[in-house]
């Protein structure tokens, strides 16, 4: 007689909100498709406890111009496409991205400050080059973000872009621009459950519907504080499932940016031999950072290397198969 095993199941009362990025022509935009994330009624991939309507969306990060300080491995793989944001966007779509993240640089290639005109032109170009939903993020300095993102929001009115970066000290201008032009916002806070929740409340208080907020809880790369981001995400997701409404936003994280900053990925010379083959190690670094955060509840994952994208995509597809 086999032993009876009664699996303990969780009866969650809460559920993550569904957020849709991008708008098709019928919806007032020009995107060929939209991407919906969130909606989970269970912890990551525990299908036996509840429904998981959408796989994690995998985004590729592109920039408005060829970046100055990325790893040689990234220049090698994207090649000439990096010289033109439209070509780069197209290459990322071909590589299999679900959506694109366009980050604007502080300066143009000749070292002069980036301009609203340039930002508008680049966004226009990228929207033409690809049918994927798009996120556009500023360089991460409050004043410059506002100066560049507001015109972008106007230029792409109705496209349901995800725009940012909304931070504790600088969110009003970008939220207002998103509300006026039918976009979504990314709410970014430094690895803390309460700060994440608080900023969602502040943004929502301005009148932004919760269906248009994605939160970025911030992460560190593998070896550089990933455990903090990982646990903050697990705690946020548990709170969401337990019914804490202001933690029920889908989460976006940037393992690509974080992992490629790490020396382990970035450089191949002057590092210990025990780190192993540079290219394999670098790709493993980005892949493990991303795969671990997906297990902690990430809904949108921003990557930089197409091989990582393929590996993470295969994992996500397999995790989505219900038993």
């Amino acid at each position: 007689m086999p032993t009876v095993v009664e699996i303990p199941r969780e009866k969650w009362t809460g559920r993550v909100r569904e957020v849709t990025l991008g708008a098709t022509t019928a919806q007032g935009g020009t995107r060929a498709k939209t991407v919906t994330v969130g909606g989970e009624g269970t912890l990551p991939f525990l299908h036996f406890d509840g429904a998981i309507p959408h796989p994690p969306a995998l985004a590729v990060e592109i920039k408005d111009r060829k970046p100055d300080d990325w790893s040689p491995l990234l220049y090698e793989v994207w090649g000439e496409a990096m010289d033109d944001p439209g070509d780069w966007a197209h290459a990322a779509e071909v590589a299999g991205a679900d959506l694109l993240i366009l980050t604007l640089s502080l300066t143009t290639a000749d070292g002069k400050p980036n301009t609203p005109e340039n930002a508008r032109a680049v966004v226009r170009k990228v929207l033409k080059a690809t049918g994927l939903p798009l996120a556009v993020l500023g360089p991460g300095q409050a004043e410059r973000d506002n100066e560049l993102i507001v015109p972008v929001a106007e230029e792409a009115k109705g496209e349901r872009l995800l725009i940012g970066v909304c931070e504790d000290k600088n969110y009003r201008t970008i939220v207002a621009a998103a509300m006026a032009n039918d976009h979504l916002v990314s709410s970014k806070t430094p690895m803390d459950v309460n700060l994440a929740k608080q900023l969602v409340i502040l943004i929502h208080d301005m009148g932004m519907p919760l269906e248009r907020i994605i939160m970025d809880p911030t992460t560190g790369a593998l070896g550089y504080g990933i455990e903090y981001g990982y646990s903050v995400m697990e705690r946020l997701r548990l709170a969401a499932l337990q019914g804490d409404s202001m933690t029920q936003q889908p989460m976006i994280v940037t393992p690509g940016e974080e992992a490629w900053k790490a020396k382990e990925s970035k450089v191949g010379e002057g590092v210990p031999e025990s780190w192993g083959d540079w290219k394999r190690r670098a790709l493993n670094w980005e892949t493990l950072t991303a795969s671990s955060l997906i297990h902690a509840g990430a809904d949108v994952v921003v990557l930089r290397h197409p091989e990582t994208l393929a590996r993470v995509k295969d994992m996500a597809a397999n995790l989505m198969k219900a038993r």
Binding site: V5, M191, G223, R235, W285
Partner: protein
């Protein structure tokens, strides 16, 4: 699950004989619950009550030890499902599979390379934990392979054989150490239990469903073997996440003894990316992970991930605040400041050290947080930085008054110039990796000026 004093009291004789030294049985029960007394102090407790009390005080996931030559790998004794609830205690052992069919010489070469592997991560030396030797069809070949592995490495072993007679030969060859024997199944378990008993070694048990697995472990425990490790044979990404989560939940939430054991996984046996699946197993509940081959480019990230996930969330790894010397600086060398979070410190230190620049590094007490987190929490502000610069007598070491602060806290420069009169505050790069380039350009400029 620990019993309360009242629950224990019900199992005691309730005669208040005082022979245990306590005035009443209830008082003794309270002492037992608080672990301030031992059950053997009661001369009249029944055998049945003893068994019940011992079972209840056992940890929900049994601690299993694999050992050799003074090296111990422990798995089990975990108490939570999420690391933030307390901490994960025992890092899963990472073992490399070695096939006897490869031949003695190839095995020696393979094993000595992996065994000697050491990689430094924030000052901690990391390496693989041992080897999983897979038997060929015959016992003699198995013994030869085990001998070859032992010659090349003193690390603990897992012995893989499905035929109990072959396993028995392996056990003989591994005499003197405590390997994990893999594995008992529905057909071979009685003889595998004999092999494990003769080796005084833990035994892995494999079955395709949790029901069969639980039935098997119950039978094996009846046969007198308690040190068991589980293989639920759930090989894919989704299957293993489900099975390992269910096993951990059953143990912790239901105190389900039949599955209250550590789990062994073989991520390379799935139709999956071995490293990605191994990473899942590290974060989600494996006790032993067997990798198909050794490659530093894979081992290093997995070892770092394991270190990160098993860091106690209540205690960030900190370095002592103070003034640190890099590359024997003199009075002209640049002065930089950062926080005492170990990863931040090592990132900055490694970059500057690697660049060959001499420098003074002021490590401020930011309660073990990284720059941005500490700044957000008010633990890395102008006041704290100024205090560190003054307390660590930077002015006595450097013959200039220029302080480089992390680019992430550029906003502090104004306040800092007020808090440190006479000092020039220079805003450094946001990332440690860009420090060498910054020093080359910005610091040289200042020196020239």
């Amino acid at each position: 699950m620990a019993l309360t004093g009242l629950q224990i009291y019900k199992l005691l004789p309730q005669t208040n004989c005082k022979e245990c030294g306590q005035p009443t049985c209830l008082a003794f029960a309270m002492k037992l619950a608080a672990k301030q007394a031992e059950l053997k102090q009661c001369p009249y407790v029944t055998e049945q009550a003893k068994a019940q009390l011992e079972a209840a005080s056992a940890p929900p996931i049994r601690l299993v030890t694999v050992a050799s030559d003074g090296v111990k790998i422990e798995a089990g004794n975990e108490t939570v499902l999420f690391r933030h609830e307390k901490t994960f205690y025992h890092k899963p052992g990472l073992f490399i599979r070695v096939k006897a069919s490869d031949g003695v010489e190839a095995i020696k070469a393979q094993v000595s390379k992996a065994s000697a592997y050491v990689v430094d991560y924030v000052g901690i030396k990391l390496g693989v934990d041992g080897f999983a030797v897979e038997a060929p069809g015959d016992g003699a070949g198995f013994a030869a392979a085990i001998g070859a592995v032992r010659e090349a490495s003193r690390k603990p072993l897992i012995l893989i054989a499905r035929d109990p007679d072959v396993m028995a030969e392996g056990v003989k060859a591994a005499q003197g150490i405590t390997p994990l024997l893999y594995a008992a199944d529905e057909t071979n378990w009685p003889k595998m239990v004999e092999a494990a008993k003769s080796a005084r070694a833990p035994l892995a048990v494999r079955a395709e469903s949790l029901e069969i697995l639980a039935t098997l472990t119950a039978d094996i425990k009846k046969a007198g073997l308690e040190d068991l490790v589980l293989d639920p044979m759930a090989r894919g990404y989704g299957e293993s996440l489900t099975a390992l989560t269910q096993i951990r939940r059953l143990a912790l939430k239901k105190n389900f003894r039949a599955l209250g054991h550590p789990v062994i996984t073989f991520p390379g046996e799935a139709n999956a990316d071995e490293m990605v699946l191994a990473a899942q197993h590290i974060a989600k509940y494996a006790g032993f992970v067997v990798l198909e081959a050794f490659d530093p480019a894979t081992a290093y990230p997995l070892l770092v991930l394991r270190q990160n996930i098993f860091t106690d969330p209540q205690k960030p790894i900190q370095v002592q605040p103070g003034l640190y010397e890099i590359n024997s600086p003199n009075g002209d060398a640049p002065v930089m400041v950062t926080t005492n979070f170990s990863i931040t410190y090592f990132a900055v230190n490694n970059e500057v050290e690697g660049s060959g620049w001499p420098g003074w590094l002021v490590v401020a007490d930011a309660e073990g947080m990284s720059v941005l987190t500490a700044w957000a929490a008010g633990k890395f502000d102008a006041e704290r930085i100024a205090k560190a610069v003054k307390n660590f007598n930077v002015e006595g070491k450097a013959n200039h008054k220029r302080l480089i602060i992390p680019g992430q806290v550029a906003v502090l420069s104004g306040e800092l110039e007020e808090a440190l009169p006479g000092w020039e505050i220079m805003v450094g790069p946001k990332e440690a990796v860009d420090l060498p380039g910054y020093l080359k350009v910005m610091w040289k400029q200042k020196q020239g000026a």
